[in-house]
Symmetry: C2
Subunit: 166 residues, 2 copies
Amino acid sequence: MKRFEHIRHKPPAPLANPRQLTLVCSALRNKVNLSRLVRLAGCSGLDKIIHCGAGKVDREIARDAVDVVHIETHRSLPPVLAWLREKGNKLIGLEQTTNSDCLYDFHFPQMTALVIGSEREGLSDEVLEMLDAVIEIPVYGRPYSHNVVTAATMAVYEYCRQFPDG
Amino acid sequence: MKRFEHIRHKPPAPLANPRQLTLVCSALRNKVNLSRLVRLAGCSGLDKIIHCGAGKVDREIARDAVDVVHIETHRSLPPVLAWLREKGNKLIGLEQTTNSDCLYDFHFPQMTALVIGSEREGLSDEVLEMLDAVIEIPVYGRPYSHNVVTAATMAVYEYCRQFPDG
């Protein structure tokens, strides 16, 4: 008997509670990056992404997630961040900054709005000023920073690891 | 004074020991996926990737990592996996299979060869039979599986979290 056999189309793991993680993205220049984030969100049990700017998604990349992840578009982030805070979310940015917390040691609040920067500029000063915490991922080589989706993937993974049941 | 200020071009975190994680990739169809893995490897302090098949990399995606991550190409994986095992590595696959371990609970051996499947077929039966363990990442929604690079990103992150100093 084979020890490891493929399980194709394995049904998703159930969540005891709906995910209380909201992904909030600055204006991404690259449609591929947004589409990859949509697939990440779908696989992670999120039902929406907040995006600053037009939310064009490539179905080839996002797959079925295009049907389950709603993209809520806004012209700028500060008003929606203020609204998320009012609803009880902590605003957690992902960036290389002073006074950041290492993702390895960070305990996510269950109601987290994870705020992602754009490819080149990262998070704006205006957004940085609104945040409750900044998390940072150690980089051990070159280039000196992860791709924005790669970094978001690590942060979403860490959140799900801390809240495996939602 | 601003609490969070950007740190641009932050120098990499030092490793006390060279990384003992080897990334081993089945033949990836998509040059973009391989290029993204190269950037992930570079940022994570790995100095090579083993790839089955031609290793064309897009510098726009992999960035500086093309200069520091060597791509070792092989015609098939089983011989190189046998060699890696002989050198003391545990062969850890990333796949949805029977008898898999959840990535959340898995303790990586320090000398790990992380074996990644191709986009459609995943890991071949021949490779699955050689593995010491299979790790699996919970999926909570649709689509029913993560993109191969997204999954690899989570596994590499988890390894680095467990061995933050190499």
